[in-house]
Amino acid sequence: MKRYQLAEYHLFQRLGKLILFNVETMLFYEVDPVISDAITCFEQAPDADIPALLRKKYSRWEVKNAISYLEKEGFLTKGDGLRHPYRTPVLTKRRGIRHLELLVTHRCNMACRYCYGIHGQEEWGSAPFLYGANSGSMSFEVAQKGVDYLFEKSGPRKQVSVIFFGGEPLLEIGLLKQIVPYIREKERETGKKADLSLSTNGLLLTPHIVDFLVENRVGCQVSIDGPAAINNRTRLLVNGCGSYDAIIQGVKRLISRRPGKVPARVTTVHNLVDLQGVVDHLLGLGFGSVHIEPAIGSSGDMGVTQDDVERIKGQNEALALFLVESVTKNRFFNYSNLVKHIRQTRVVRERLAYYCGAGRTYFALAQDGGFYPCHRFVGMESYRMGTIESGVDLTLQKKILSLTVDNRPVCKDCWARYLCGGGCWKHAVDAHGTLEGSNDKLSCQIIQHEIECAMAINSELAISDQDILSTMYEEATEPYLITDKGGA
């Protein structure tokens, strides 16, 4: 028997499909059990006579046929020489800033139970809360300097983006009304285009503010956790009452001005997992897409547990089945947790080296003019990356650049690393106290499961029109938190 070397692979069964994924080539296959048994035998007994080992189940011809397919598709390589598997290169060349988050305020007019502005900010010093009614706001001067810095340091890029964050950014509508025209002015001066967006709790979506957002092309994502029964358990007004009734009129107002284009951002928490109910309800309201993130890390006792994750997986599979059924009946809905992976795995354009652009091409600017990798690090002094006066400090950026998925513990051995990028930096810091740590274990499980479901969905729909998904799932929502992925 010839000697073979085995490529890194992942074999799994999901939605009734047996899928084999080649980690390095990023191609995946729907396979028969003979392939699955053959590759498993190779892993366990690489020197054995595989056809002989499997003779009770398959004929010799079947096994040899399977081996020849595995060889053709790059799972098996002949020879005794060492393989040189792909490793993500570490880039050192700075590509300039592309996305800037302006933390326009730390004030907030709600008191969501899982807000990381309350939990986990030990470095914030004497202030008890990062976000709250008494926290500060950004001045126009700082915002203006931040915008100038973005346009200046974006290099040859023609497209940049500014994200207004908080607290609740609409509390600073006065500042927004000053800075947005200034950004448009900079567009005209420089010839660059700026995408503007913000995330809101929906409480201040009055007719005038919605008019302002729509007329000035500011994309708007709404944080809402589902129907009232769920939303009101976690997203509370400052007096402790649920917020659903208070926000729903504004939300409907915004959606009516931008039908099918408003994304919903949902946080699912411990013991309140009902993905189907949430997706059903929010898409029924008219949201263009729904993205659900589990509360992880600095969310106190609201963080999801292993039991919750099992429930999430089960519900995601049910949603996956429903999605397949809908697509085959020419009806579709954008549950982005699955849809983004469906797109990503259907035609793979790049291997992700990082989960997001935080600290590389994406920065958050705090009220005091300090740069941070993103809003979740604001207030943590050890992650401050310079100021608008001095510019972005390279030290931390170099560390971030070096931490590609192939260089992070746990990530480097994960089959999904080039599709995931390694997970949120803040999750790693919360779980391990350092950027060098891996993503939170529960978050990893969910991401891996989502990717498996996406591959199974692609496999299920591969037998029909190949273009169905790419035409159906065009990006219909406003760009939000566009992150640079891959080696850029």
Partner: protein, 645 residues
């Protein structure tokens, strides 16, 4: 020797046959492996040397639409000139769109222009929406009538210096002590704001408090749930989170036993918290029949402010009445209001729950003021009518007001019949409330205490208007989802179903009715027939015959979609996913052994179901049959039992 040759020949033939058979087998068999996706990796497809435009270092390039090899960083949306170099125009008709950033270039010399519209041809550095003067330098005007609209942010600036004016809107944020109608700056803390969206309006007398900070305000509408001191009429939400007109507020526990509304001078609807007060109202008139005294106005549980004036035995002249004030003109189940009193339906606004607050209203901003004559002036319990000016109403046949009248400048209602105002709420900013009837009888001038009881004991109004045309045919429009099982939740849409809860049945099995409105019914099937198949729907509104819809429902037996994992050993936990398992736990049998079920769930709307069970002990290794069953049916699936560890 011959034997050896024969043996060799036989062996060779056997080998040939095996080889041929093998290849035949392989060529006829389907491939055991089928690729699903594709990549654009240069390595995967053998491409090298991709130029860095719009690419990462490893990806394949995306070409531009003209066919260039993407060697220049093109970013044009449209390039009619063909070279797309550094252009950033949306459209370039001139062919010379170099460094331009115009939306439209009519002059052909779109150099550094920033005009949205340039009629003067000299739109240099302008940023106006409309430039009629031709000198719109650095203006931010929406409309510039004065030619000196520098830095103004007024809606209309006629003076040219709208910095410290008492603005209708102050966008500059400097309107700290101004009497703002709307405060968007968030610093209107001392202002008498009508709206406070910033959340700082703690001591302001707000009409609406979106932020939840308006705790001590005398809100008419409390969206935050902190309506402790507000003038509420009835709390329909369990946590006062909806903008009800509460008489009780369960959040604060305020249950005034006796109330008297503030005097007219206090009734500005902006004041907060009145203590225990006495609402005084009682007027009796003679009954219609045989000279007996009858109640003209029964204001039990009513809230009236200001105190109305009641006049009896006054002659009431009836002009040509215009029909009922509220009626369903177009038969869609929604009332229209004859706010211009012409008796015609054209243009009449619909009375609906526009704000999702459980109260039907006129569309916000609808003008309703003046003198009208109607046959019936009936305001149902869940309707609130807002007047924009003084109202003078004569009703020829009926005055029955159970809902709310929000008046800006008083109302006079005159009628020759009884006025039934049980459970009414009348709030008038100014003007008087004058109710007069031509019926003879004694008018009480003494003030009687009115008790507001616990909300649960409020009598429901069983009333049919003499002008009511809405009690006609009840119609069922839709029932969904059609596929149901035990525990399913179903929505029924229709019209003219009435407000009183009726009955719903699936075949002969009754459903639990959770909510019943004139157009929507929510039911739950605690039980279903035990045989799967189509069943009729029977919907019986109050006091009307049942409405039958044939084969409206399909009762479904359980369907197992997949079992994960597909095999296990004793003690393993297995998950079954499928549909229509029912909400009540059913049975799970593996061969002949009952399985311990650790979880059994079903989504009531979609039927999506999930069950978790533990593989029992003492099962024979190998293929087994897993059967899931409930009262409607069962579903069998194969399962592999492995040897115990």
């Amino acid at each position: 020797m011959q034997q050896t040759i024969d043996n060799a020949k036989r062996g060779f033939l056997k080998w040939i046959c095996r080889l041929t058979g093998g290849y035949l087998f392989l060529s006829l068999s389907p491939a055991p492996l089928k690729r699903v996706n594709a990549t654009l990796f240069s390595e995967a497809h053998g491409q090298t040397g991709c130029k860095p435009d719009w690419c990462t270092e490893r990806d394949a390039c995306e070409g531009d639409s003209v066919g260039h090899t993407c060697s220049v960083k093109d970013t044009c949306n449209v390039d009619e000139s063909g070279d797309c170099e550094t252009d950033s125009c949306n459209e370039d008709r001139s062919g010379a769109c170099i460094t331009d950033s115009c939306n439209e270039d009519r002059s052909g010399s779109c150099v550094t222009d920033r005009c949205v519209s340039d009629r003067s041809g000299s739109c240099v550095t302008d940023s106006c929406d409309v430039d009629e003067s031709g000198t719109c330098n650095s203006d931010h005007c929406v409309s510039d009538s004065s030619v000196s609209c520098k830095f103004d942010q007024c809606n209309v600036d006629r003076s040219g210096s709208c910095v410290t004016d008492s603005c209708d809107e102050d966008r500059s944020g400097g309107c700290v002590t101004d009497r703002c109608v709307s405060d968007r700056s968030g610093i209107c803390s001392d202002d008498s704001c009508n709206e406070d969206r910033s959340g700082d309006c703690v001591t302001d007398s707000c009409n609406e408090d979106w932020s939840g900070f308006c705790v001590n305000d005398s809100c008419i509408i409390d969206k935050s749930g902190s309506c402790g001191a507000d003038l509420c009429r009835q709390d329909q939400g369990p946590d006062c989170a909806t903008s009800d007109t509460c008489a009780l507020d369960r959040v604060t526990g305020m249950r005034p036993r006796q109330q008297t509304l503030a005097s007219k001078s206090l009734n500005r609807a902006m004041k907060w918290l009145y203590d225990l007060a006495m609402v005084i109202l009682c007027i009796f008139t003679a009954s219609l029949a045989h000279g007996q005294n009858s109640t003209v106005i029964d204001a039990t549980n009513a809230i009236l402010s200001p105190n109305p004036t009641f006049i009896t035995a006054e002659p009431v002249s009836i002009d040509q009445p215009a029909g009922p004030f509220l009626r369903d003109c177009d038969g869609d189940g929604i009332l229209e209001a004859d706010t211009n009193g012409d008796g015609q339906c054209a243009g009449d606004p619909k009375v609906m729950d526009y704000r999702g607050i459980g109260t039907r209203e006129l569309p916000p901003g609808t003008p309703f003021t003046g003198t009208f004559t109607f046959t019936c002036f009936h305001i149902p319990e869940d309707v609130a009518i807002t007047a924009t000016g003084p109202l003078n109403i004569t009703a020829s046949r009926e005055v029955a007001i159970f809902g709310a009248m929000r008046l800006s400048d008083g109302i006079k209602i005159a009628t020759p019949v009884d006025i039934d105002a049980r459970l009414s709420t009348w709030l008038s900013d100014a003007g008087e409330i004058i109710l007069s009837t031509a019926l003879k009888g004694d008018a009480y001038n003494d003030l009687l205490p009115i008790e507001l009881t616990d909300e649960q004991n409020l009598p429901s109004i069983q009333y049919t208007s003499t002008c009511d045309t809405t009690t006609e045919t009840a119609i069922i429009r839709a029932i969904f989802p059609p596929e149901v099982t035990q525990g399913s939740a179903v929505t029924i849409k229709g019209s003219n179903l009435g407000i009183k809860k009726g009955k719903v049945a699936l075949g002969s099995v009754k459903a639990k009715v959770n909510t019943w409105t004139p157009d929507t019914i929510f039911v739950e099937f605690k039980k279903v027939p035990t045989v799967a198949g189509p069943y009729d729907s029977f919907i019986t509104p109050s006091k009307t015959p049942a409405i039958r819809t044939e084969a409206a429902y399909q009762v479904k037996a359980p369907e197992v979609l997949y079992v994960s994992p597909g095999g296990g050993r004793a003690g393993d936990v297995i998950t079954i996913t499928g549909k229509f398992f029912g909400k009540k736990k059913g049975k799970l049998i593996l061969n002949d052994k009952k399985c311990k079920i650790t979880a059994w769930t079903m989504d009531a709307r979609t039927g999506a179901s999930e069950v978790e069970f533990v593989v029992p002990k003492k099962l024979a290794t190998g293929s087994a049959t897993l059967t899931l069953s409930n009262k409607v049916g069962s579903f069998a699936r194969s399962f592999t039992v492995y040897d115990p560890m």
